[in-house]
């Protein structure tokens, strides 16, 4: 059994998995707009409401709890930066009269917290999207939305998207293996970060190109063409109802955030 890997499809029997990918894209649009409408400075009621909504969806999707733990390293790298940079850059009341904290403004910190919070919401939502819809469903949905464009465009975009998304978990796996192999040989003690990065990136890129080459060969062996059969199941009343409820809840959280 493989380890849990971020941005990989995880099958469960849930109402979220059953939802048509085209409807999921509509939900994503509604969620994105609702998050962007939330105010930044100091008022977090809307973000709390959005977080509760997302937590509810996460539970409904029956996703493994370990996935949240998997996201922590990503968050630990980005969150401090997202919070501290605005606090340093935005003018306002200093956090403390002197010392390092005097360089940070209260307004900037509040802005940064809001910004970081929104980043977490986007990250978790993206994870939920790819964990509950297969790459094929996502790429077919994208191709469906691009249908009005000239014929080859939706097909090419759909295939490129599906290949990219399908390879992300494999790249995470490869990175972890390379990192572990180098750590086993004390690679983590290299102080020069540029050298350390180069040591990790070169084998990763090599792995990526070899893999791409093998994949292309395997796809060709199975008669690959951009004009593949693409069949969609019809959007059901259940899909419409779930999408409508979700969009309504997003609207409600946006209203809560802007008025309360």
């Amino acid at each position: 059994m493989a380890d849990l890997v971020l941005f990989r499809y995880t099958y469960r029997q849930s109402v979220i998995h059953a939802l048509d990918a085209r409807c999921k894209f509509l939900c994503m649009a509604a969620f994105t707009i609702a998050v962007l409408l939330q105010p930044y400075g100091g008022h977090y009621t809307g973000l709390v409401a959005m977080s509760s909504l997302l937590a509810g969806i996460y539970l409904l999707a029956k996703q493994p709890a370990g996935m949240v733990k998997k996201m922590l390293p990503v968050l630990l790298v980005w969150l401090p930066m997202l919070i501290v940079v605005p606090a340093l850059a935005k003018a306002g009341t200093p956090l403390a009269p002197k010392g390092v904290l005097a360089r940070l403004s209260q307004e900037g910190l509040q802005y940064g917290i809001g910004y970081g919070w929104k980043f977490v919401l986007f990250l978790v939502f993206s994870q939920l999207m790819v964990a509950t819809a297969t790459v094929s469903e996502i790429s077919k949905a994208v191709a469906w939305y691009l249908h009005p464009l000239p014929k080859p465009v939706p097909a090419v975009v759909g295939v490129l998207l599906s290949l990219t998304l399908a390879q992300i978990p494999a790249l995470f796996d490869a990175y972890q293996q390379i990192n572990a192999a180098q750590t086993a040989r004390m690679g983590n003690r290299v102080k020069n970060q540029v050298k350390r990065m180069r040591n990790l990136l070169l084998p990763l890129l090599q792995n990526l190109f070899t893999r791409a080459d093998e994949l292309a060969m395997a796809m060709e062996a199975r008669c690959f063409t951009y004009h593949r059969a693409q069949y969609h199941l019809p959007i059901t009343a259940h899909d419409r109802a779930v999408t409508a409820i979700f969009c309504l809840l997003c609207g409600l959280t946006a209203w809560v955030g802007r008025t309360l």
Binding site: Y9, Y11, V135, S136, L215, M217, A218, A221
Partner: protein, 252 residues
Amino acid sequence: MSEPLLQIQNLVHRFANGVQAVKGVNWQIQKGEFIVLSGSNGSGKTVLVRHFNGLLQPTSGSVLLWGKPVSRQLLIARQTIGLVFQDAASQMVAQTVYEEVAFGPENLRLTASEINHRVTQALQTTGLTGLENRHPLELSGGQQRRLAIAGILAMQPAMIVLDEPFNGLDYEGVVQTLQQIVSLHQNGHTILVITHDLEKTLAHATRLAIMHQGQMVLDGTPQTVLPQAEKYGVKPPYHYHQRPLNSITWLT
């Protein structure tokens, strides 16, 4: 004798860096055969079989499928000759077992019901029914190998080429994969297995061929080829001359 399924005529393959991987191979494969192709690393086995369905084009010479050049009927060649690659995980293009098997039929632009029929049948044949919604990389090594075979079976090929199918598999995985291969042969598929490990499969083979430095140096029945195998770097099964040939298998 009927027309051979595949006919390889004086095939030469030279890579861009000048290395000659295949040096003038002449070979024939008849329908219904079970061939084991062996040889040391770098002897040109994989390069040779990749010409069978036009994945590689020969520098000179030709490959004929049912008497016609493969290069003039690529689509037919890729449906007729199914190639299962060495690393099963590297040929996975989808995120569920069902979609992985459906990849080939979708490329053939079959109808939705035909795709579903072929996928269901391929999964049944390989014993993967019930795993349709699982991620391919969550399966065991043996199951992944059988999934790769299912992906090929859904294209309904006449011949299946398996490149090192037992590589990296535990005992159970080897047995599962070998059972699958034998059963495919019994169902009328022509089988070509590339392997170093004769001990696992030889009892089922109707023919054994050995490549060495890009050339087909030995080809015949296992009984005739085995005594000379060692001088081309292929390890013969233990005490093979004291055992009946049908005992050289991992299937009990």
